[in-house]
Symmetry: C2
Subunit: 203 residues, 2 copies
DNA sequence: CTCTTTGCCTAAAACCTTTAGGCGTGGGCA
DNA sequence: TGCCCACGCCTAAAGGTTTTAGGCAAAGAG
Protein backbone atom coordinates (compact mmCIF):
# COMPACT_ATOMS: atom_id res chain seq x y z
CA UNK A 1 0.00 0.00 0.00
CA UNK A 2 1.02 3.52 -0.65
CA UNK A 3 1.40 5.68 2.39
CA UNK A 4 0.80 9.24 1.42
CA UNK A 5 -0.16 12.47 3.08
CA UNK A 6 -3.53 12.33 4.76
CA UNK A 7 -5.53 15.48 5.19
CA UNK A 8 -9.00 14.47 6.23
CA UNK A 9 -9.16 16.65 9.34
CA UNK A 10 -10.96 19.91 9.65
CA UNK A 11 -7.95 22.14 9.15
CA UNK A 12 -9.59 24.77 6.97
CA UNK A 13 -6.86 25.17 4.36
CA UNK A 14 -3.97 22.86 4.89
CA UNK A 15 -0.57 22.90 3.23
CA UNK A 16 -0.28 21.48 -0.25
CA UNK A 17 0.26 17.83 -0.72
CA UNK A 18 3.07 18.40 -3.17
CA UNK A 19 1.79 16.82 -6.33
CA UNK A 20 4.19 16.45 -9.20
CA UNK A 21 3.98 14.70 -12.50
CA UNK A 22 6.88 12.62 -11.23
CA UNK A 23 5.17 11.58 -8.05
CA UNK A 24 1.93 10.84 -9.86
CA UNK A 25 3.67 8.59 -12.35
CA UNK A 26 5.59 6.81 -9.62
CA UNK A 27 2.45 6.28 -7.58
CA UNK A 28 0.67 5.18 -10.74
CA UNK A 29 3.31 2.55 -11.36
CA UNK A 30 2.98 1.29 -7.81
CA UNK A 31 -0.75 1.24 -8.20
CA UNK A 32 -0.39 -0.75 -11.40
CA UNK A 33 1.67 -3.37 -9.63
CA UNK A 34 -0.90 -3.60 -6.90
CA UNK A 35 -4.14 -3.73 -8.84
CA UNK A 36 -3.17 -4.17 -12.48
CA UNK A 37 -2.32 -1.63 -15.11
CA UNK A 38 -5.79 -1.58 -16.58
CA UNK A 39 -7.19 -0.51 -13.24
CA UNK A 40 -4.92 2.46 -12.93
CA UNK A 41 -7.27 5.36 -12.82
CA UNK A 42 -6.96 9.06 -12.23
CA UNK A 43 -9.61 8.80 -9.55
CA UNK A 44 -7.85 6.08 -7.65
CA UNK A 45 -4.62 8.01 -7.77
CA UNK A 46 -6.36 11.10 -6.41
CA UNK A 47 -7.83 8.99 -3.66
CA UNK A 48 -4.40 7.76 -2.68
CA UNK A 49 -3.01 11.25 -2.52
CA UNK A 50 -6.12 12.27 -0.60
CA UNK A 51 -6.76 15.00 -3.09
CA UNK A 52 -9.62 15.90 -5.38
CA UNK A 53 -9.57 14.31 -8.82
CA UNK A 54 -9.47 17.58 -10.73
CA UNK A 55 -6.23 18.50 -9.02
CA UNK A 56 -4.36 15.85 -10.94
CA UNK A 57 -5.21 17.42 -14.26
CA UNK A 58 -2.68 20.17 -13.67
CA UNK A 59 0.09 17.61 -13.69
CA UNK A 60 -1.17 15.14 -16.23
CA UNK A 61 -3.03 15.89 -19.43
CA UNK A 62 -5.50 13.08 -19.09
CA UNK A 63 -5.83 9.42 -18.32
CA UNK A 64 -4.07 8.38 -21.50
CA UNK A 65 -1.21 10.70 -20.77
CA UNK A 66 -0.83 9.21 -17.32
CA UNK A 67 -0.71 5.70 -18.70
CA UNK A 68 1.76 6.68 -21.37
CA UNK A 69 4.06 8.14 -18.75
CA UNK A 70 3.84 4.99 -16.65
CA UNK A 71 4.69 2.95 -19.72
CA UNK A 72 7.70 5.13 -20.43
CA UNK A 73 8.83 4.77 -16.84
CA UNK A 74 8.59 1.00 -17.04
CA UNK A 75 10.51 0.87 -20.31
CA UNK A 76 13.20 3.05 -18.79
CA UNK A 77 13.48 0.91 -15.69
CA UNK A 78 13.66 -2.22 -17.80
CA UNK A 79 16.37 -0.75 -19.96
CA UNK A 80 18.35 0.25 -16.89
CA UNK A 81 18.18 -3.24 -15.52
CA UNK A 82 19.11 -4.67 -18.87
CA UNK A 83 22.15 -2.42 -19.10
CA UNK A 84 23.24 -3.51 -15.65
CA UNK A 85 22.77 -7.15 -16.44
CA UNK A 86 24.64 -6.96 -19.70
CA UNK A 87 27.65 -5.18 -18.26
CA UNK A 88 30.65 -7.47 -18.29
CA UNK A 89 28.84 -10.41 -19.80
CA UNK A 90 29.00 -11.96 -23.23
CA UNK A 91 27.71 -14.92 -25.19
CA UNK A 92 25.25 -17.22 -23.52
CA UNK A 93 25.96 -15.64 -20.18
CA UNK A 94 24.68 -12.35 -21.52
CA UNK A 95 21.75 -13.99 -23.26
CA UNK A 96 20.55 -15.61 -20.06
CA UNK A 97 21.11 -12.46 -18.07
CA UNK A 98 19.09 -10.30 -20.43
CA UNK A 99 16.32 -12.82 -20.72
CA UNK A 100 16.05 -13.01 -16.96
CA UNK A 101 15.87 -9.26 -16.66
CA UNK A 102 12.60 -9.27 -18.56
CA UNK A 103 11.21 -12.28 -16.78
CA UNK A 104 12.16 -11.10 -13.32
CA UNK A 105 10.88 -7.61 -13.94
CA UNK A 106 7.55 -8.98 -15.04
CA UNK A 107 7.32 -11.07 -11.90
CA UNK A 108 8.34 -8.32 -9.55
CA UNK A 109 6.33 -5.64 -11.30
CA UNK A 110 3.47 -7.17 -13.24
CA UNK A 111 1.66 -3.87 -13.52
CA UNK A 112 4.71 -2.04 -14.78
CA UNK A 113 5.42 -4.84 -17.20
CA UNK A 114 1.90 -4.61 -18.53
CA UNK A 115 2.42 -0.88 -18.82
CA UNK A 116 5.54 -1.50 -20.90
CA UNK A 117 3.24 -3.21 -23.40
CA UNK A 118 0.99 -0.20 -23.60
CA UNK A 119 0.45 0.88 -27.17
CA UNK A 120 2.39 4.12 -27.51
CA UNK A 121 1.63 6.67 -30.18
CA UNK A 122 4.50 7.02 -32.63
CA UNK A 123 5.95 10.16 -31.08
CA UNK A 124 5.99 8.69 -27.59
CA UNK A 125 7.39 5.47 -28.95
CA UNK A 126 10.25 7.27 -30.62
CA UNK A 127 11.11 9.06 -27.39
CA UNK A 128 10.86 5.87 -25.37
CA UNK A 129 13.57 3.55 -24.16
CA UNK A 130 12.49 1.12 -26.86
CA UNK A 131 15.50 2.12 -28.86
CA UNK A 132 17.82 1.31 -25.96
CA UNK A 133 16.30 -2.14 -25.75
CA UNK A 134 16.96 -2.84 -29.38
CA UNK A 135 20.51 -1.56 -29.04
CA UNK A 136 21.19 -3.77 -26.08
CA UNK A 137 19.90 -6.84 -27.81
CA UNK A 138 22.21 -5.98 -30.68
CA UNK A 139 25.07 -5.61 -28.25
CA UNK A 140 24.27 -9.01 -26.85
CA UNK A 141 24.48 -10.47 -30.33
CA UNK A 142 28.06 -9.30 -30.68
CA UNK A 143 28.90 -12.45 -28.78
CA UNK A 144 27.54 -14.41 -31.71
CA UNK A 145 28.66 -14.27 -35.26
CA UNK A 146 25.86 -12.60 -37.15
CA UNK A 147 25.96 -10.07 -39.95
CA UNK A 148 23.16 -7.87 -41.18
CA UNK A 149 20.42 -8.51 -41.94
CA UNK A 150 20.53 -11.68 -39.88
CA UNK A 151 21.40 -9.67 -36.84
CA UNK A 152 18.16 -7.74 -37.11
CA UNK A 153 16.25 -10.94 -37.62
CA UNK A 154 17.85 -12.31 -34.49
CA UNK A 155 17.07 -9.16 -32.52
CA UNK A 156 13.45 -9.54 -33.46
CA UNK A 157 13.41 -13.21 -32.67
CA UNK A 158 14.86 -12.67 -29.24
CA UNK A 159 12.41 -9.89 -28.53
CA UNK A 160 9.56 -12.11 -29.59
CA UNK A 161 10.62 -15.02 -27.46
CA UNK A 162 11.28 -12.96 -24.37
CA UNK A 163 8.09 -11.02 -24.61
CA UNK A 164 6.02 -13.96 -25.74
CA UNK A 165 7.24 -16.33 -23.10
CA UNK A 166 6.97 -13.90 -20.25
CA UNK A 167 3.56 -12.71 -21.23
CA UNK A 168 2.15 -16.19 -21.69
CA UNK A 169 3.68 -17.34 -18.44
CA UNK A 170 2.30 -14.33 -16.58
CA UNK A 171 -1.10 -14.98 -18.06
CA UNK A 172 -1.05 -18.47 -16.67
CA UNK A 173 -0.82 -20.00 -20.11
CA UNK A 174 1.74 -22.58 -19.08
CA UNK A 175 0.04 -23.48 -15.86
CA UNK A 176 -1.77 -26.73 -16.10
CA UNK A 177 0.92 -28.76 -17.82
CA UNK A 178 3.64 -31.02 -16.59
CA UNK A 179 7.26 -29.81 -16.79
CA UNK A 180 7.61 -26.71 -14.69
CA UNK A 181 8.18 -23.48 -16.47
CA UNK A 182 11.54 -23.07 -14.81
CA UNK A 183 12.92 -26.01 -16.70
CA UNK A 184 11.33 -24.94 -19.95
CA UNK A 185 12.76 -21.48 -19.56
CA UNK A 186 16.31 -22.72 -19.24
CA UNK A 187 15.90 -25.20 -22.07
CA UNK A 188 14.49 -22.48 -24.27
CA UNK A 189 17.50 -20.31 -23.53
CA UNK A 190 19.78 -23.24 -24.32
CA UNK A 191 17.98 -23.68 -27.60
CA UNK A 192 18.25 -20.00 -28.46
CA UNK A 193 21.94 -20.05 -27.69
CA UNK A 194 22.42 -23.04 -29.96
CA UNK A 195 20.37 -21.40 -32.65
CA UNK A 196 22.31 -18.16 -32.57
CA UNK A 197 25.57 -20.08 -32.63
CA UNK A 198 24.57 -21.78 -35.86
CA UNK A 199 22.14 -19.41 -37.48
CA UNK A 200 20.88 -20.97 -40.69
CA UNK A 201 22.11 -19.15 -43.82
CA UNK A 202 19.60 -17.48 -46.10
CA UNK A 203 18.27 -19.89 -48.71
CA UNK B 1 -19.94 -0.96 -39.66
CA UNK B 2 -22.57 -3.16 -38.20
CA UNK B 3 -25.94 -2.88 -39.83
CA UNK B 4 -28.50 -3.80 -37.29
CA UNK B 5 -32.16 -3.24 -36.68
CA UNK B 6 -33.06 0.40 -36.23
CA UNK B 7 -36.11 1.33 -34.27
CA UNK B 8 -36.00 5.03 -33.68
CA UNK B 9 -39.47 5.78 -34.99
CA UNK B 10 -42.52 6.51 -32.91
CA UNK B 11 -44.08 3.05 -33.10
CA UNK B 12 -45.24 2.75 -29.50
CA UNK B 13 -43.99 -0.74 -28.80
CA UNK B 14 -42.17 -2.28 -31.69
CA UNK B 15 -41.19 -5.88 -32.22
CA UNK B 16 -38.18 -7.12 -30.36
CA UNK B 17 -34.78 -6.65 -31.83
CA UNK B 18 -33.88 -10.25 -31.20
CA UNK B 19 -30.96 -10.00 -28.84
CA UNK B 20 -29.05 -13.15 -28.07
CA UNK B 21 -25.88 -13.84 -26.21
CA UNK B 22 -24.60 -15.18 -29.51
CA UNK B 23 -25.41 -12.09 -31.48
CA UNK B 24 -24.02 -9.85 -28.77
CA UNK B 25 -20.74 -11.69 -28.71
CA UNK B 26 -20.51 -11.68 -32.49
CA UNK B 27 -21.25 -7.98 -32.64
CA UNK B 28 -18.79 -7.45 -29.82
CA UNK B 29 -16.08 -9.19 -31.80
CA UNK B 30 -16.84 -7.07 -34.84
CA UNK B 31 -16.78 -3.99 -32.68
CA UNK B 32 -13.43 -5.03 -31.28
CA UNK B 33 -11.98 -5.31 -34.75
CA UNK B 34 -13.31 -1.89 -35.60
CA UNK B 35 -12.37 0.14 -32.55
CA UNK B 36 -10.09 -2.07 -30.50
CA UNK B 37 -10.87 -4.64 -27.87
CA UNK B 38 -10.34 -2.29 -24.98
CA UNK B 39 -13.04 -0.02 -26.31
CA UNK B 40 -15.62 -2.73 -26.46
CA UNK B 41 -18.26 -1.54 -24.11
CA UNK B 42 -21.73 -2.66 -23.16
CA UNK B 43 -22.99 0.82 -23.93
CA UNK B 44 -21.51 0.93 -27.40
CA UNK B 45 -22.97 -2.47 -28.14
CA UNK B 46 -26.40 -1.33 -27.00
CA UNK B 47 -26.04 1.73 -29.18
CA UNK B 48 -25.35 -0.44 -32.21
CA UNK B 49 -28.34 -2.60 -31.57
CA UNK B 50 -30.36 0.55 -30.99
CA UNK B 51 -31.46 -0.74 -27.66
CA UNK B 52 -31.19 0.48 -24.08
CA UNK B 53 -28.09 -0.55 -22.21
CA UNK B 54 -29.90 -2.40 -19.47
CA UNK B 55 -31.41 -4.73 -22.03
CA UNK B 56 -28.07 -6.37 -22.64
CA UNK B 57 -27.78 -7.48 -19.07
CA UNK B 58 -30.30 -10.23 -19.64
CA UNK B 59 -27.96 -11.85 -22.13
CA UNK B 60 -24.60 -11.11 -20.61
CA UNK B 61 -23.71 -11.09 -16.92
CA UNK B 62 -21.59 -7.98 -17.10
CA UNK B 63 -18.89 -6.28 -19.04
CA UNK B 64 -16.27 -8.78 -17.97
CA UNK B 65 -18.48 -11.66 -19.01
CA UNK B 66 -18.95 -10.09 -22.43
CA UNK B 67 -15.23 -9.70 -22.91
CA UNK B 68 -14.58 -13.22 -21.75
CA UNK B 69 -17.06 -14.56 -24.28
CA UNK B 70 -15.45 -12.57 -27.06
CA UNK B 71 -12.09 -13.95 -26.02
CA UNK B 72 -13.44 -17.49 -26.12
CA UNK B 73 -14.91 -16.88 -29.55
CA UNK B 74 -11.58 -15.63 -30.85
CA UNK B 75 -9.70 -18.58 -29.40
CA UNK B 76 -12.20 -20.92 -31.00
CA UNK B 77 -11.95 -19.26 -34.38
CA UNK B 78 -8.19 -19.34 -34.20
CA UNK B 79 -8.20 -23.01 -33.31
CA UNK B 80 -10.52 -23.75 -36.22
CA UNK B 81 -8.24 -21.99 -38.61
CA UNK B 82 -5.24 -23.76 -37.17
CA UNK B 83 -6.89 -27.13 -37.58
CA UNK B 84 -7.67 -26.35 -41.21
CA UNK B 85 -4.16 -25.18 -41.89
CA UNK B 86 -2.57 -28.19 -40.29
CA UNK B 87 -4.67 -30.72 -42.16
CA UNK B 88 -2.54 -32.63 -44.62
CA UNK B 89 0.67 -30.83 -43.79
CA UNK B 90 3.76 -31.92 -41.90
CA UNK B 91 7.22 -30.72 -41.01
CA UNK B 92 8.23 -27.24 -41.97
CA UNK B 93 5.21 -26.94 -44.19
CA UNK B 94 2.99 -27.38 -41.16
CA UNK B 95 5.13 -25.09 -39.05
CA UNK B 96 4.84 -22.25 -41.52
CA UNK B 97 1.14 -22.83 -42.01
CA UNK B 98 0.39 -22.74 -38.31
CA UNK B 99 2.54 -19.69 -37.73
CA UNK B 100 0.78 -17.85 -40.52
CA UNK B 101 -2.59 -18.68 -39.09
CA UNK B 102 -1.80 -16.65 -36.01
CA UNK B 103 -0.18 -13.83 -37.90
CA UNK B 104 -2.91 -13.56 -40.50
CA UNK B 105 -5.66 -13.77 -37.95
CA UNK B 106 -4.09 -10.93 -35.99
CA UNK B 107 -3.92 -8.83 -39.12
CA UNK B 108 -7.43 -9.56 -40.26
CA UNK B 109 -8.94 -9.34 -36.80
CA UNK B 110 -6.79 -7.21 -34.54
CA UNK B 111 -9.57 -6.76 -32.02
CA UNK B 112 -10.35 -10.43 -31.84
CA UNK B 113 -6.66 -11.21 -31.56
CA UNK B 114 -6.36 -8.79 -28.68
CA UNK B 115 -9.38 -10.49 -27.16
CA UNK B 116 -7.64 -13.84 -27.43
CA UNK B 117 -5.00 -12.38 -25.12
CA UNK B 118 -7.59 -11.41 -22.55
CA UNK B 119 -6.70 -12.74 -19.14
CA UNK B 120 -9.22 -15.54 -18.51
CA UNK B 121 -10.08 -16.70 -15.05
CA UNK B 122 -8.98 -20.32 -14.50
CA UNK B 123 -12.40 -21.85 -15.08
CA UNK B 124 -12.90 -20.02 -18.34
CA UNK B 125 -9.37 -20.83 -19.39
CA UNK B 126 -9.95 -24.53 -18.80
CA UNK B 127 -13.08 -24.45 -20.92
CA UNK B 128 -11.38 -22.49 -23.66
CA UNK B 129 -9.87 -23.63 -26.91
CA UNK B 130 -6.47 -23.10 -25.34
CA UNK B 131 -6.18 -26.82 -24.96
CA UNK B 132 -6.84 -27.36 -28.66
CA UNK B 133 -4.07 -24.96 -29.50
CA UNK B 134 -1.58 -26.82 -27.38
CA UNK B 135 -2.68 -30.10 -28.90
CA UNK B 136 -2.24 -28.81 -32.41
CA UNK B 137 1.19 -27.49 -31.71
CA UNK B 138 2.03 -30.92 -30.34
CA UNK B 139 0.64 -32.49 -33.48
CA UNK B 140 2.82 -30.23 -35.55
CA UNK B 141 5.84 -31.42 -33.63
CA UNK B 142 5.20 -34.98 -34.72
CA UNK B 143 7.02 -33.98 -37.86
CA UNK B 144 10.09 -33.44 -35.76
CA UNK B 145 11.83 -35.93 -33.58
CA UNK B 146 11.21 -34.77 -30.04
CA UNK B 147 10.45 -36.80 -26.93
CA UNK B 148 9.02 -35.56 -23.68
CA UNK B 149 9.82 -33.30 -21.97
CA UNK B 150 11.49 -31.60 -24.89
CA UNK B 151 8.28 -31.69 -26.80
CA UNK B 152 6.58 -29.60 -24.17
CA UNK B 153 9.47 -27.21 -24.13
CA UNK B 154 9.18 -26.87 -27.87
CA UNK B 155 5.42 -26.32 -27.67
CA UNK B 156 6.02 -23.49 -25.28
CA UNK B 157 8.78 -22.03 -27.36
CA UNK B 158 6.64 -22.02 -30.47
CA UNK B 159 3.76 -20.45 -28.62
CA UNK B 160 6.06 -17.77 -27.28
CA UNK B 161 7.55 -16.93 -30.64
CA UNK B 162 4.23 -16.84 -32.46
CA UNK B 163 2.51 -14.76 -29.86
CA UNK B 164 5.50 -12.58 -29.14
CA UNK B 165 6.27 -11.85 -32.76
CA UNK B 166 2.72 -11.15 -33.77
CA UNK B 167 1.99 -8.97 -30.81
CA UNK B 168 5.16 -6.90 -31.18
CA UNK B 169 4.58 -6.54 -34.90
CA UNK B 170 0.96 -5.50 -34.37
CA UNK B 171 2.08 -3.00 -31.77
CA UNK B 172 4.37 -1.42 -34.30
CA UNK B 173 7.45 -2.57 -32.43
CA UNK B 174 9.28 -3.58 -35.59
CA UNK B 175 8.30 -0.51 -37.54
CA UNK B 176 11.11 1.91 -37.81
CA UNK B 177 13.88 -0.50 -38.70
CA UNK B 178 15.33 -1.65 -41.94
CA UNK B 179 14.67 -5.22 -43.14
CA UNK B 180 10.96 -5.57 -43.63
CA UNK B 181 9.09 -7.77 -41.23
CA UNK B 182 8.09 -10.11 -44.01
CA UNK B 183 11.66 -11.20 -44.49
CA UNK B 184 12.29 -11.49 -40.79
CA UNK B 185 9.21 -13.58 -40.37
CA UNK B 186 10.30 -16.14 -42.94
CA UNK B 187 13.84 -16.22 -41.60
CA UNK B 188 12.54 -16.73 -38.09
CA UNK B 189 10.47 -19.65 -39.29
CA UNK B 190 13.51 -21.07 -41.05
CA UNK B 191 15.44 -20.73 -37.85
CA UNK B 192 12.75 -22.43 -35.82
CA UNK B 193 12.61 -25.28 -38.29
CA UNK B 194 16.34 -25.74 -38.05
CA UNK B 195 16.20 -25.57 -34.30
CA UNK B 196 13.46 -28.16 -34.02
CA UNK B 197 15.34 -30.43 -36.39
CA UNK B 198 18.37 -30.39 -34.15
CA UNK B 199 17.02 -29.69 -30.71
CA UNK B 200 19.92 -29.46 -28.26
CA UNK B 201 20.00 -32.36 -25.79
CA UNK B 202 19.58 -31.65 -22.09
CA UNK B 203 22.91 -30.84 -20.44
C1' DC C 1 -59.10 -16.46 -24.50
C1' DT C 2 -56.38 -16.32 -20.42
C1' DC C 3 -51.83 -17.13 -18.38
C1' DT C 4 -47.12 -17.14 -18.25
C1' DT C 5 -42.88 -16.23 -20.01
C1' DT C 6 -39.89 -13.48 -22.52
C1' DG C 7 -37.76 -9.22 -23.96
C1' DC C 8 -36.90 -4.71 -23.78
C1' DC C 9 -37.78 -0.42 -21.10
C1' DT C 10 -37.61 3.25 -17.30
C1' DA C 11 -35.34 4.67 -13.22
C1' DA C 12 -31.59 5.30 -10.43
C1' DA C 13 -27.24 4.89 -7.98
C1' DA C 14 -22.26 4.66 -8.25
C1' DC C 15 -18.03 5.67 -10.40
C1' DC C 16 -14.64 7.69 -13.86
C1' DT C 17 -13.21 11.58 -17.00
C1' DT C 18 -12.54 16.17 -18.12
C1' DT C 19 -13.20 21.24 -18.24
C1' DA C 20 -13.95 25.85 -16.11
C1' DG C 21 -13.39 28.89 -12.76
C1' DG C 22 -12.23 30.28 -7.69
C1' DC C 23 -9.45 31.34 -3.82
C1' DG C 24 -6.07 30.96 -0.20
C1' DT C 25 -0.94 30.63 0.58
C1' DG C 26 3.70 31.29 -0.09
C1' DG C 27 7.59 33.15 -2.42
C1' DG C 28 9.39 37.08 -4.81
C1' DC C 29 10.08 41.78 -5.05
C1' DA C 30 10.20 46.40 -3.30
C1' DT D 1 8.14 44.45 6.44
C1' DG D 2 4.52 44.31 3.37
C1' DC D 3 2.27 43.72 -1.20
C1' DC D 4 1.26 40.97 -5.13
C1' DC D 5 0.86 37.29 -8.11
C1' DA D 6 1.37 32.70 -9.53
C1' DC D 7 0.82 28.36 -8.10
C1' DG D 8 -1.71 24.46 -6.13
C1' DC D 9 -5.63 22.46 -4.81
C1' DC D 10 -10.76 23.04 -4.61
C1' DT D 11 -15.82 23.40 -6.00
C1' DA D 12 -19.02 22.77 -9.62
C1' DA D 13 -20.80 20.52 -13.38
C1' DA D 14 -21.54 17.90 -17.53
C1' DG D 15 -21.17 13.52 -19.85
C1' DG D 16 -20.18 8.63 -20.24
C1' DT D 17 -20.10 3.59 -18.48
C1' DT D 18 -21.69 -0.08 -15.30
C1' DT D 19 -25.06 -2.51 -12.90
C1' DT D 20 -29.40 -3.52 -10.31
C1' DA D 21 -34.47 -3.37 -9.66
C1' DG D 22 -38.80 -3.35 -11.19
C1' DG D 23 -42.49 -2.67 -15.01
C1' DC D 24 -45.24 -3.50 -19.05
C1' DA D 25 -46.51 -5.39 -23.35
C1' DA D 26 -46.18 -8.90 -26.86
C1' DA D 27 -45.72 -13.80 -27.99
C1' DG D 28 -46.61 -18.27 -27.21
C1' DA D 29 -48.88 -22.22 -24.35
C1' DG D 30 -52.85 -24.51 -22.86
Amino acid sequence: MLTLAKRKDATPMTPRVGLTTERLVQAGATLADEVGFDRVTVSELARRFDVKVASLYSHVKNSHDLKTRIALLALEELADRAADALAGRAGKDALVALANVYRDYAREHPGRYAAAQFRLDPEAAAASAGVRHAKMTRALLRGYDLDEPDQTHAVRLLGSVFHGYVSIEMGGGFSHSAPDTEETWSRVLDALDTLLRSWPPAP
